[in-house]
Symmetry: C2
Subunit: 459 residues, 2 copies
């Protein structure tokens, strides 16, 4: 049976027979079911979830976008909603509650508290942290045991956790001391290799790669990738208290999300919180419009430069012809440099301290690329059409291109370094911002070169 | 002791005492050691590795960039080199050999064959696949067992594999039938939860999420991320034969690498194979220059459009003033659209089939954004300076901006869809390419609008 047909007209019939319904759903991966449920109206999803065992329903619900989760849960009776939320993974539950307004948060936490006060405590613990940090990303479901625990006891404990579906990852066992201080880690692999009577203290690795709860999610991803970890423990800055665990599968999502946000910032807009289609039209107008207008005001400078050279343009209108060509070439060279440096900063290959190495390289690069393109530009200007002063125009275009490309590689590489140095995100609208800056500088260079060359020929 | 001091002047002293040397290194994560070794000359690294136990040396070596690995191994005696390569992870070894020329490949495989013919077979199996596919990414070290294996036997087998360091991941056990046909999967967690006398066939999951050896690495990453997997099995297309396993930690690297390559393509250059600093100057000139020159030729069209409107420019030189402003705004709006669509395509949120939804949205977006910016543009042109025909110029600029922004959102969103449809990578140089296209179209629109408006006022 294909999953899509399951959610078609047969759905009503199946709902009458909950046993058949849950059997039918068990055939598919919860992620695939969630994707299809996301296309149904919230009312239909709510009815469907009511007919399923709570655990299964929670498994589907937690994979839907948070907005959709809210729409569905609003349609459920309080008792059903509380049961569902109780069954959700702690980090998904915290995300659900995080996005509610204060009033709703209070109401739902109160109802959850009546059912299970421990869950409220766990959730509030997770809500303390910014969602884009290790604390916001972590789960509190992990296996933490005392150092004197024997290997056989630890295996029993892992079994119990796994059976109750309590620990998202049971592949690492964390060894904790007084006040949950993180002492070491034992992998499940180490565990099954050791003698049953050994104590965890004897087999644990004490050099644990760990992160602080306030570590940014990009940094968490970098650490997990660097050390090839399945999970990384999250500790309190002050007391080294173990607070939770971030697993590698969450990190893959973070890396993809961050790449999209970086691309959108570099593309000159405010990053979207949701997918392209899920983002409302007016939100999109705002997130694109704000930058478009800011950049437009910046571009006013190009008009100002043009105005102040109106006399030159009036005398030699041929000068205008090559303006788009020259400023775009500057924009392209600048965009190459800024892309290279932004990515190098973001994956940790370069830092603002390398500025002199980068500057030296980009100046030489500007000379090389500029000469390459200037040769072609000279010929285009010299030979095309019935020019009055082919040599003057050719030289003006050629020399300008070299100067503009050097300006572009320098500005394109140094602006991201300066932004990072100033504590700003170098990706923020950088490509269009740098292009605008290069446009203005490029025009200034062009007119200066034109005046010098045309002037020298007149004498 | 800090790692950096370990590699300082004390290094020579330590090399005299291999026992102390290996103890000192055992304190640090191999990834951190590799980073520091990467900064030493190959000769020093070669000497150091010779003083270490082969297993530890291989652990460091396989984490260095492949080029550096070659430089180091060249300095070793054949016997040492073969021993080191034998100890490397199969996928790292295959990467090492892949990058050699045919002659060197043959020589090294021959020497490896004398030591252990099985390793040559395993390596050749891996070399069959494109490095950017599941086959190129996978390792052949996995635990594969027959369906009738009992749980207790399976645990013994996992123990043996883990102890010999043979299986990169022992967290999944793959159940294979005749001809290594993949029948199911059992997680280590399932294994420790089951009764020792049960057969794997009774506890395995038969619906295995798997990929083909020829699946592109981005797709593998997407699947692992979607289903939150620790590893995904790789099978032969025809016979469902299990060939290897891709683990999630490799996928995190792939996602980061792909994001960098996409950014570089979008930034208008050929993606680099290595980091910014590791890439040679002339390679960088080539990878940037080729696109800069191609785009420059494309920009010739702007000069052609300008030339054919030389008469209009000569009569009304004020027209030239707003050209950089208008074409840059088009470029910015186009870059927003292309970035949004390229990322949506790359994370699978949109596909070329959605073109009419996207087109409708982007036309409306162009109207909204265009009107927003045009209002400001009109005022800039109307009020600034001592214009002769403020209303004509203001209207020309305002109307052109609306038309150019709509053109830009349409071109910026449709070109990536068309490229994907044609089987090309939509990220390839798209932002500058689209900007150039929008420049040319923008100029055509501008002059057409100017002629219409100025003409109508003259009558």
């Amino acid at each position: 049976m294909r999953l899509a047909t399951l959610l078609g007209p047969d759905l009503k019939a199946l709902q009458a027979d909950p046993e058949a319904l849950r059997e039918a759903f068990r055939e598919f991966h919860p992620e695939d079911v969630a994707e299809l449920l996301d296309d149904l109206p919230p009312k239909d999803v709510a009815e469907l979830l009511k007919a399923l065992p709570t655990e299964m329903a929670a498994d589907f619900l937690e994979r839907l976008p948070v907005e959709k989760q809210h729409d569905i849960v609003e349609l459920l009776e309080d008792r059903d909603a509380v049961e569902l939320l109780t069954e959700m993974d702690p980090d998904d539950r915290a995300d659900f509650i995080e996005e509610l307004d204060d009033h709703e948060q209070k109401a739902i936490l109160e109802k959850l508290g009546e059912a299970d006060p421990e869950i409220v405590e766990e959730t509030q613990e997770l809500l303390r942290f910014d969602p884009y940090t290790a604390g916001g990303l972590m789960t509190t479901e992990y296996v933490g045991l005392a150092p004197e625990t024997k290997v056989w006891e630890a295996i029993e404990e892992v079994r119990r956790h796994a059976r109750e579906g309590e620990a998202e990852t049971v592949y690492y066992i964390y060894v904790v001391g007084y006040g949950d201080k993180l002492l070491g880690v034992v992998s499940l692999r180490d565990l099954i290799l050791s003698e049953p009577a050994q104590a965890l203290a004897d087999i644990m690795t004490e050099k644990v790669v760990k992160v602080s709860a306030t570590t940014e999610q990009e940094e968490v991803a970098r650490i997990i990738a660097r050390y090839d970890l399945a999970a990384v423990p999250v500790v309190d800055d002050e007391h080294e208290e173990l607070l939770g665990v971030v697993t590698v599968d969450d990190v893959v999502d973070v890396v993809i999300e961050e790449a999209t946000e970086d691309a959108q910032r570099m593309g000159g807009m405010v990053p979207l919180d949701e997918s392209y289609f899920a983002t409302g039209f007016f939100e999109l107008v705002w997130k694109r419009g704000i930058w478009l207008v800011l950049l437009f005001f910046g571009q006013f400078l190009t008009a100002t430069v043009m105005e102040s050279n109106e006399a030159a343009l009036a005398t030699m209108v041929e000068l205008a012809i090559f303006i788009p060509l020259i400023i775009s070439t500057g924009g392209n060279a600048g965009s190459q440099s800024s892309t290279l440096i932004i990515r190098a900063l973001s994956v940790g290959e370069a830092s603002p301290r390398d500025w002199h190495r980068i500057l030296g390289r980009e100046v030489l690069m500007g000379v090389a690329l500029g000469l390459l393109v200037a040769g072609i530009g000279f010929m285009r200007a010299y030979f095309a059409g019935d020019r009055v002063e082919p040599l003057e125009l050719g030289l003006t275009v050629g020399v300008s291109i070299v100067a503009v490309v050097i300006t572009a590689t320098v500005v394109g590489s140094m602006v991201p370094l300066l932004m990072r140095r100033a504590g700003l995100d170098p990706a923020v609208s950088s490509t269009p911002f740098i292009a605008s800056l290069v446009d203005v500088l490029g025009l200034l260079v062009y007119f200066a070169v034109a005046r010098a060359i045309v002037g020298s020929f007149v004498h």
